[in-house]
């Protein structure tokens, strides 16, 4: 009986967490949050360098 209540509590907690995640728009994808991006980028997009541009990348093909 205790097991049943524990499982129900566990399950409802998971559902609540999923509901919150969905409502708040959580995602498993990784993005790098940066603050204070200069407004000049709109006029000179090349002045900004994303740190992702320096990561090694796959160049494909079998």
């Amino acid at each position: 009986m205790i097991f049943g209540k524990l499982f129900l509590t566990y399950g409802l907690a998971i559902l609540a967490l999923v509901g919150i995640a969905e409502y708040r728009g959580w995602s498993l994808n990784t993005v790098n949050e940066v603050k204070g991006v200069p407004k000049t980028i709109r006029n000179n997009p090349g002045a900004y360098r994303s740190h992702f541009m320096f990561l090694p990348r796959y160049i494909g093909g079998k």
């Binding site: 999923v18 409502y23 995602s27 994808n29």
Partner: protein, 443 residues
């Protein structure tokens, strides 16, 4: 018991000690408690039938002559015997207590390694059948699966018995189980006796007989011991089903009621032939509503090629940026193994928890250039960027569905382990027992 039973006191012809006969009208054998000599109670002079030659004495957990109440009826322990079977050269002994009530007759208690059974003689004869190709019997609306057959030998007796008992008596026993019940047959050259036992907590027996000490703790899993996981497993799967219904209802709710609003949808062209700055920014668009996610879908026409995109979603007013990179690659071909393909032309990413505001997207596409790849041809692609606000994100639902599986699967495995331990003690050890006590009720 309304009146105390009459007790006849006689002297043991072997040692002279007093021998009490409680059920003298029915008793055929009585065993002297002092010297354990088996006496014939049907003759006035208590003829000696068998002398005890063993060196050890065994103390019954329920003393002879002790009275107790089982199911509101008074019962007296009048006989005790130890029986033994030998399996693979290993002797296994269990204790049997003979209880008597002058109005109800006899019943038995058996004890093995702390496991107790309350046993009564069956008045119906079980009918043989098979379950999954293995022998079984049916009686009183229940199917019992064969557990074990062996030759049982009486190795120790005390008290009185309504049948001829000797140390060394042998019977062929067969046990059939449907936890918490067990049906047993005892076969001699003359007759077959059937009995039905119900697994009983030792504490109940000790309380019934007002025994002060604690009963021995059960060891291992007994043949008809009810699985503590049987009902729990069923409840766990029922709860799992209920929670999954709620989960899919939640999934349905969010798939219907999320905004899923397209805020940017534009097509672009990129070529490595262009020597100018590849990066650019989109028009400003508004992300409305609460803090929510944003999905960026990139669709390309890549053909055996790759492209890399450096993205930054920037809040125009605050300068808050979400910086990320995505690679799209689409390759296919044919070799000695046949045709193959890798990757795809499209990509999708969900940016988490983006506050409302006015945003623009900085895009920096990149493809293999002559300098980096050593090729001579220009690389080009058409691509389309689509941004949607507040999209349903199903990954959490599938993850939750997996987490919800953990308790019922864990309980089912525990139950299977319990059944394996049970059937490891049977004639079907290490094989396919069927592994479940399903012939009885699940709970």
């Amino acid at each position: 018991m309304a009146t105390p039973p009459q007790v006849k006191a006689l002297a043991c012809p072997n040692c002279g000690a007093g021998v009490q006969v409680r059920t003298y009208a029915r008793t055929l054998n009585v065993v002297c408690v002092n010297c354990l000599t088996v006496l014939d109670a049907s003759t006035p002079e208590l003829q000696i039938l068998q002398k005890f030659e063993g060196a050890t004495r065994i103390r019954p957990l329920v003393p002879l002559g002790k009275r107790g109440k089982l199911e509101s009826e008074a019962w007296e322990n009048i006989g005790f015997q130890v029986r033994e079977i030998v399996v693979d050269g290993v002797p296994y002994q269990w204790h049997e207590y003979l209880l008597f009530n002058p109005y109800k007759g006899y019943r038995y208690l058996t004890e093995y390694d702390g496991h107790w059974n309350d046993v009564k003689t069956l008045k119906s004869i079980p009918s043989p059948c098979t379950v999954s190709g293995k022998p079984a019997v049916q009686v009183l609306g229940r199917t019992y699966r064969h557990f074990q057959s062996a030759e049982a030998t009486t190795v120790y007796v005390m008290g009185e018995f309504p049948w001829q008992v000797r140390v060394g008596d042998q019977v062929r026993v067969a046990d059939y189980v449907a936890p918490p019940f067990m049906v047993s047959s005892e076969t001699t050259a003359d007759e077959v006796t059937w009995s039905i036992g119900e697994y009983t907590d030792g504490r109940r027996i000790f309380q019934a007989f007002e025994l002060k000490e604690a009963p021995p703790a059960p060891r291992g899993v007994y043949a008809n011991q009810p699985s503590p996981y049987a009902g729990r497993t069923k409840r766990a799967w029922t709860t799992w089903l209920f929670l999954n219904i709620l989960l899919f209802a939640l999934m349905f709710f969010f798939s219907i009621f999320t905004g899923n609003q397209v805020v940017l949808d534009k097509s672009y062209y990129f070529t490595t032939a262009s020597k100018g700055e590849a990066s650019f920014v989109t028009d400003v668009f508004e992300l409305k509503g609460r803090i929510s996610n944003v999905e960026l879908t990139t669709s390309t026409d890549l053909d055996n090629d790759w492209a890399y995109f450096g993205f930054a979603l920037v809040n125009e007013a605050t300068g808050q940026g979400y910086d990320f990179g995505r690679e799209v690659s689409c390759y296919y071909g044919r070799d000695s193994d046949g045709s193959w393909s890798e990757g795809g032309r499209n990509d999708s990413v969900v940016i988490p928890s983006v506050p409302p505001g006015r945003y623009y997207l900085r895009v920096e596409p990149e493809m293999q250039s002559d300098a980096s790849g050593g090729g001579s041809a220009d690389h080009r692609m058409n691509y389309r960027l689509q941004l949607r606000r507040d999209v349903p994100y199903n990954a959490f639902f599938w993850f939750a569905a997996l987490l919800l599986l953990v308790p019922p699967v864990f309980t089912s495995l525990r139950r299977a382990g319990f059944e394996t331990r049970r059937w490891n003690e049977s004639d079907y050890a290490g094989g396919s027992s069927g592994g479940s006590d399903s012939s009885s009720s699940d709970d």
